[in-house]
Amino acid sequence: MKKVKTQKRARISQGDIYKNVEFIEYAIEEEGVVEVSKIVFPFVVVLTQDCDLNQDYKIRWARRDHLNHDKKLFSVIVAPLYNYEHFYNGNHLSELSLSMAEIKKQGRTAENNLKQNQTPRYHYLEFPDSVPIVPSVIDFKHYFTVNVEYLKKHKRDNFICQIGTLYREDVSQRFSSFLSRIGLPER
């Protein structure tokens, strides 16, 4: 995949890539002390359907009144992008004290399948030289949601690019297919 759009639109769009997006693990208050734990992801890609994002944008920011707020979203689905080199070595989540499967130990076939997007859980992406992101992997299992207004404000200074139309459809289709998989018992 080497087709991206670097032109920033006002609204959040499917396939947008943002840097430094925060995921709140928890926020608790005890005896007057608030503790917030968050994970900062270097890059995430937006997976919510683009029509939903468009309708939300119109309801939320249009000046004219609407009959109801039926199309308003609470959050946007995103998934992290991991540096392929870290991912290959299984140490992409080492800062979170998690050791992950090492693709390098799974042989050449596993690596080829991954790079050709034949492994349902992952989506491999390469970027043109103009985009400051190294070859990366989206892990569909690690999707999370982010508040719409937070992400809209965050986009201003943290937008990197948007995955090209056809390629973002591919990501979206593979993500929905991964989510709707049916786990069968082994025996």
Binding site: E29, G32, V33, V34, V36, K38, P42, H86, E95
Partner: protein, 64 residues
């Protein structure tokens, strides 16, 4: 086949490096080593920065 230099002979002489030229004097000083270590440290920390990080914030609520 020898190709003729596109530069004048004077240019070639002035720009030829030899053992006395500054280009080849590359013995490192302690200052160079310090700078090199700093760059290496920076590259390594940038590399680590491209991984997800956990941040913990604790704040006391001040009653109004």
């Amino acid at each position: 086949m020898d190709k003729e230099s596109p530069f004048s002979s004077e240019y070639d002489i002035n720009n030829t490096t030899d053992s006395k030229s500054s280009i080849q004097q590359n013995s490192s000083t302690p200052k160079d080593k310090e700078a090199s270590d700093l760059i290496k440290e920076r590259i390594e920390s940038d590399y680590q920065l491209s991984k997800p990080m956990r941040k913990l914030i604790r704040a006391r609520i001040i009653p109004k």
